[in-house]
């Protein structure tokens, strides 16, 4: 079910984060990680969440994914309540798939087996159908030829791409990316960015992307939400009006530089605050 690129309007994947509060209680001292955070993400939008380390943005992602509870407020996906004060923890599911920071491809399965894991587990397709579709999607992403290798045998850039294909095989409404390119060097990163955009243009999922790299955020996103340091709350919202499709020449364009100028002061301020507070990696 590969969507044709371009003109199709996305109707799934609208996220509403409504006044969410998350308070941790480690060792008795209440620590507020997320402070009355509200954010609305349109269906099919690439929304970049930028903030210093440990500010609580991963907590938000985990709440959407269903790994953590929230204390109050609600999160809705396409009008349905994912979690709220009455139901603090969402159910993890294939409509919101996470791509993890250090990668979570199963090392004991080949790349292709990883890719077809979702549909096979859910029983949505027969094994044969899943394998066909998996091979096609991998080829689309430039991964033909490594189907029968194990993740440990290919480069980390390739692993990220396989993981994204694994997610997309389930036709998710939302892709949740938690600093997926953090561990890659900048040259590989720029190649990965173009690869991600290419995949996005073919599939148009909503992308909720956490990063601390402002350049990455402005290059990829439709909108950038700059978060305060802990407790986390949107400090500044920026709409990136550079048109899609984008390629790396955008990085040196005048508009890009202007947007960087507008936002870098806000980001830097929060980074300084976090540094002084001695934030550890969450």
């Amino acid at each position: 079910m590969t969507k044709s690129s371009g003109a199709e309007v996305k109707t799934r994947g609208h996220i509403l984060i409504d006044d969410v509060v998350k308070v941790y209680d480690p060792e008795g001292a209440a620590v507020m990680a997320v402070d009355h955070c509200s954010l609305e993400i349109e269906a099919g939008e690439i929304c970049m969440i930028v903030g210093p380390s440990g500010c609580g943005k991963t907590t938000l992602l985990n709440a959407i994914a269903g790994f953590h509870e929230i204390t109050s407020g609600r999160i809705l996906l396409d009008g349905e309540v994912l979690c709220s004060a009455q139901k603090p923890k969402a159910e993890p599911g294939p409509d919101r798939i996470v791509v993890f920071q250090n990668g979570a491809l199963f090392p004991w399965k080949t790349n292709l087996e990883n890719v077809v894991f979702g549909p096979v587990m859910q029983g949505r397709m027969t094994k044969a159908e899943a394998l066909d579709r998996g091979r096609a999607m991998m080829a689309d992403a430039g991964l033909a030829g490594v189907e029968h290798n194990y993740p440990g045998e290919v480069s980390s850039g390739m692993r990220r791409r396989v993981e994204i294909v694994r997610a997309l095989m389930n036709d998710p409404a939302v892709l949740l990316l938690d600093e997926p390119y953090r561990a890659l060097d900048s040259l590989t990163k720029s190649v990965m960015h173009e690869a991600l955009l290419e995949i996005y243009y073919k599939n148009k999922v909503t992308i909720f992307f956490i990063t601390h790299d402002l350049e990455e955020a402005i290059f990829l996103g439709h909108r950038v939400a700059i978060m305060t340091t802990r407790p986390c709350k949107p400090k500044k919202l920026l709409t990136v009006d550079i048109p899609h499709p984008r390629d790396y020449s955008v990085l040196t364009s005048k508009r890009f530089r202007e947007l960087m100028q507008e936002t870098s002061e806000a980001v830097h301020e929060e980074a300084r605050k976090a540094f002084q507070a001695g934030e550890k990696e969450g």
């Binding site: 979570a104 399965k109 587990m121 430039g142 029968h148 440990g152 389930n170």
Partner: protein, 445 residues
């Protein structure tokens, strides 16, 4: 010069995406990038044809290449599609190979890096550690990605005749051995053993040092062990020797298999279900600190037949070790894997089967190696205290009957047999976890 510098940068980045070059040190990558040439191709443009001179290999930066082997080559997958990060055209690396083994065409607009093979090999040879590692990786890459059962990358300097399958495997082994021989390791090992055996011989038989002279001497033991008519009745020629070995091995096998069959599931449950752990673990931890040998009299009381008592004791030790290590293994599995599986819609039992069990397998096998050691430990002790037959029994009775050389024979046999069983467990683990063997091999180079 700026243009060339940028090209070199792109080349370096592309090289790092390619499996054989990925983990090479910076300096080496930059020098390879410097000798590379960028080639741009239009769709349907030919890269090379089979039989042409194989003077360079290619790394794909972008685009797609169709690669078709000659039928004579006998590759399992004759046609291969190669995308960004792929490496092909490595025929020139093979010893005695001068012509292309396949035909390669671009199917899309493509950008390739062309690296002259002669220069590359010279560069890799200049760095004995990293270069050799890279050549090994080529070999493995060729085997896995190109599914060619016979051909392996060769380091030049061996014979110049064209290869057959046996020759290539043999010459790679010879190369490996020659590298090992050049290192000091085997000589140090020989020195170590010589020192050990030498001091044993000297202190007992030549110098007759005070406490040592009552011990059985090296020559006495060796003569006894290898004698067709041993003074004390046990040597490699006597059937009793093998009977004792068999009895001990059979007991260990029973105990170990039973302990694994019960211990692994218990450990998996303890690690997987917090509720189960809350109920069961306290009782488990209460029984575990009791030394296995403290169970001996109770075991004799419980199991009237000493055979079962002995096996029970070995089983118990092995069981605790296996269950504990399995539980720790499950707990060590990275949360992300379970979370990813949940995201992808797996139900609880599916997570257990597809994530927990394979994820814990490496830890389980480490535990099993410990467990079989513990099993032998307990078995020997139990045999020494009670029971008939078996190597522990041999050692004990040889002492009581003043047949000292046989004690040493028993000990050495125990060591050998114990090592063999432990190696078996490790091999079983390697077989079940192909993915790990390959991953480890690639990371060590």
């Amino acid at each position: 010069m700026k243009v060339l510098a940028d090209e070199a940068k792109v080349a370096s980045a592309a090289l790092r995406e390619a499996a054989p070059f990925r983990d090479l040190p910076e300096g080496l990558i930059e020098r390879i990038a410097a000798m590379a040439r960028t080639v741009r191709l239009a769709p349907d443009e030919r890269v090379y044809a089979a039989g042409q001179s194989a003077d360079s290999l290619y790394v794909v930066v972008s685009g797609r290449i169709d690669h078709v082997f000659k039928r004579e080559v006998g590759a399992r997958e004759a046609m291969k599609r190669i995308g960004p990060g792929g490496v092909f055209g490595w025929a020139g690396l093979l010893l005695g190979q001068t012509g292309r083994l396949a035909t390669a065409n671009a199917t899309e607009p493509s950008v390739l890096l062309s690296i002259p093979t002669e220069e590359l090999v010279k560069l890799l040879e200049s760095d004995p550690v990293e270069g050799k590692a890279a050549m090994d990786r080529f070999g493995r890459m060729i085997q896995t990605e190109f599914t060619m059962p016979s051909l392996l990358a060769q380091v030049r300097r061996l014979s110049g005749t064209p290869m057959t399958e046996e020759m290539s495997r043999l010459s790679l082994t010879m190369y490996r051995i020659s590298v090992w021989m050049k290192s000091p390791r085997p000589y140090l090992m020989l020195i170590g053993f010589a020192l050990f055996l030498g001091s044993w011989y000297l202190s007992v038989e030549v110098l007759k040092l005070p406490r040592f002279k009552d011990m059985p001497g090296l020559t006495t033991v060796v003569k006894e062990w290898l004698s067709p008519n041993p003074t004390y009745g046990l040597s490699i020629y006597t059937p009793e020797y093998y009977q004792h070995i068999w009895v001990s091995v059979w007991r260990v096998t029973q105990a170990f298999l039973l302990a694994t069959a019960l211990g692994v599931p218990l450990g998996l449950l303890l690690g997987w279900s917090p509720r189960f752990k809350e109920y069961v673990f306290p009782v488990f931890e209460m029984l575990r600190p009791i030394p296995i040998l403290a169970w001996v009299p109770l075991a004799i009381v419980m199991f009237i037949a000493t055979e079962s008592a002995v096996i029970f004791l070995a089983f118990l030790a092995s069981f605790f070790a296996t269950a504990l290590n399995t539980m720790l293994g499950v707990q060590s599995i990275d949360d992300s894997y379970v979370r990813a599986a949940n995201c992808l819609g797996a139900k609880r039992w599916q997570v257990f089967r597809h994530v927990i069990i394979p994820g814990a397998l490496p830890f389980i096998f480490t535990g099993l190696q410990i467990s079989i050691g513990v099993c032998w430990f307990s078995l020997v002790a139990a045999e020494m205290v009670s029971g008939q037959f078996g190597l522990g029994y041999v050692i004990n009775t040889s002492y009581v009957m003043v047949r000292y050389p046989t004690i040493i024979i028993g000990m050495v046999t125990l060591g050998l047999v114990g090592y063999a069983t432990s190696a078996l467990v490790r091999l079983a683990g390697d077989y079940l976890m192909q993915w790990r063997v390959r991953e480890l091999a690639l990371s060590e180079g």
